[in-house]
């Protein structure tokens, strides 16, 4: 009976995820190009925030996840320009792998820290990366550099379809990662992460490893960040050091807080909200859009402290 419920629970999640993907993919055919681009960026950036949410479930918030975005983005752009790798899927996955490899040596160190110390250490790492990218003329310095049009499964993408194809690829990967994240959050490891958030001492006295949980979550967040970075760079056609700047990281944290740690779908909804607010506010009141964003965040923290995901995850303690 219980097994059936679990299977139905995951089956329902997968069905909903696939339905959302098909719906968005079909809707993309009728959307104006600016909207498919906006949703592509929302999904790519949402992946970065998904990694942050994974860490938030363990009680820490990184302020330097822009570094993962930059690492994934630069890796994809360099692979395209220097190695001749043009396949969009390979570039995206490669971005995730490079960010993971770059983050792995720091993960055991960071797993020892909590609260503001964890946040500041991740911020420091991202700002060091930013400084290096600014100074490295081989990587375009402060201007960054461009990359051309990727291919997909050996097919050259036509002018009319390149935006849509990247949009479908991005939401497809976002759907897969969202479903995997849901499975992980509901797994035994996922539950131990939630326990770490509340009481590390008891986790250790029950035989669990707090540091292992935090290390794994940091590495998974790096993969999500790198994947998102590569996807974003392919749609933008450009990469630059500001990806690793602290304000960029702040936007990902904003999305994660807006979403809350309970719902995976909420991360992508929150990311879309940010992109919409950013786009329209930049157009209609360009110098004060951060003000609107800040007020919105205050509203969410005051009335939905567990994020917008808590609206439909009410009653769930996990």
């Amino acid at each position: 009976m219980i097994q059936t419920e679990t299977a139905v629970g995951h089956g329902r999640t997968v069905a909903l995820g696939l339905a959302a993907f098909v719906l968005l993919a079909l809707a993309g055919l009728a959307m104006p190009k600016w909207l498919t681009f906006l949703l592509t960026m929302a999904a790519a950036n949402g992946l970065v925030s998904l990694g942050i949410v994974g860490l938030m479930r363990g009680g820490v918030v990184p302020f330097g996840q822009g570094m993962m975005l930059a690492l994934g983005g630069y890796a994809a752009a360099l692979a395209f320009n220097k190695l001749g790798v043009t396949d969009a899927l390979l570039l995206a996955l490669g971005g995730g792998v490079v960010a993971t490899l770059a983050a792995a040596p720091f993960a055991p160190l960071l797993s020892r820290y909590r609260g503001i110390f964890f946040a500041m250490l991740t911020l420091a790492l991202s700002m060091v990366t930013y400084g290096l990218l600014m100074k490295l003329s081989a990587l375009g310095g402060s201007d960054g550099f461009n990359l051309g049009r990727p291919t997909l499964f050996g097919q050259v993408l036509a002018d009319a379809w390149v935006g849509y194809t990247l949009y479908v690829l991005t939401i497809a990967l976002a759907t897969v990662m969202a479903l995997l994240a849901r499975v992980y959050f509901d797994s035994t490891r996922g539950l131990v992460t939630l326990a770490v958030r509340e009481n590390e001492l008891r986790v250790e006295y029950l035989g669990g490893s707090v540091r292992q949980a935090m290390t794994i979550n940091f590495i998974l967040a790096a993969f999500c960040g790198g994947l998102g970075g590569a996807l974003a760079v392919m749609s933008l056609g450009h990469v630059e050091p500001t990806f690793s700047f602290w304000t960029t990281s702040g936007e990902f944290v904003f999305v994660a807080i807006l979403a809350g740690w309970q719902s995976v779908a909420a991360v992508f909804i929150a990311s879309t909200v940010l992109e919409v607010v950013r786009s329209f506010s930049s157009a209609y009141f360009p110098n004060t859009w951060q003000l609107a964003l800040g007020l919105f965040l205050l509203f969410v923290i005051r009335f939905l402290p567990k994020g917008i995901g808590s609206l439909w995850m009410r009653g769930s303690t996990r």
């Binding site: 679990t6 939630l194 509340e198 008891r202 029950l206």
Partner: protein
């Protein structure tokens, strides 16, 4: 009964305060040992040293002949030593059943990225223990909403999830009303009685409970063991009557 736990020459100081001095204790499988003593006598320090929370300045501790003195709490837990806490260490935002599932997941050596925490065998194990401790009716309640006595029971039920060889209970009835103490301790001991081969060390201040549930008493005073015998004998010694129960002081 085989030798399970052996503490040899344990010493621990906190500055000028001697928390443990030349502690030599052997515990055999299946024993119900009560640790008694006034506040600051060294009972909790002893428990903390066994579970790896504190390292002794001198001496060694063996479990089944294996030296566990340098090991971290997690490693000691995995060798079969579990504990409950004087102040229950629970997950207040989670439900009672989820707390049990956390305990089960932490104990799982092969933690999985895919295997659901709410899988049938984990829930069945959780339900068995919840039933045994009389907690089944609370399974869907958030722990933060529970009364103190129920939290105490849940704290112990979680420790028991791993079917430990040695269970240490730090003041299992503290903070519980006098009326509830006996039924609660009866529930705990009945539940433990169904765990084959679990040896229990419990810190307790109520001598009626000690006499009723312990097969052996170890009394501490100023970091030293002043009595180690069957309850009737240990509680009748002058040192215990003077420094623990205070009977001689009253006389």
């Amino acid at each position: 009964m085989s030798l399970l736990l052996q503490a040899q020459g344990l010493g621990k100081r906190f500055g000028a305060v001697v928390a443990a001095s030349d502690i030599n204790i052997s515990v055999h499988t299946g024993e119900r040992v009560s640790l008694i003593g006034s506040n600051g006598a060294g009972k909790t320090t002893f428990v903390n040293m066994i579970t790896g929370y504190m390292k002794p300045d001198q001496g060694r501790i063996t479990l089944d002949g294996l030296d566990i003195t340098p090991l971290a709490p997690r490693a000691i837990t995995r060798l079969g030593v579990a504990r409950s806490f004087q102040i229950p260490q629970l997950y207040g935002d989670l439900t009672v059943q989820d707390n049990m599932l956390v305990a089960n997941a932490c104990h799982d050596q092969k933690l999985s990225f895919w295997q659901p925490a709410r899988r049938p065998e984990a829930i069945a194990r959780a339900e068995t223990l919840l039933e045994r401790f009389g907690l089944a009716e609370h399974r869907e309640r958030r722990v933060a909403e529970l009364p103190g006595g129920v939290r105490k029971l849940l704290d112990i039920a979680m420790a028991l999830t791993a079917s430990p060889k040695l269970l240490l209970l730090d003041e299992p009835t503290s903070g519980v009303s006098a009326d509830e103490k006996f039924p609660m301790m009866d529930t705990i001991m009945a539940a433990l009685g169904q765990e084959a081969g679990t040896t229990v060390l419990f810190v307790e201040h109520d001598m009626d409970i000690v006499e009723r549930h312990a097969s052996r008493v170890i009394a501490f005073y100023a970091g030293r063991v002043i009595a180690d015998d069957q309850p009737a004998i240990a509680l009748a010694t002058d040192d215990v009557r003077r420094y623990v129960t205070g009977e001689l002081l009253q006389e």
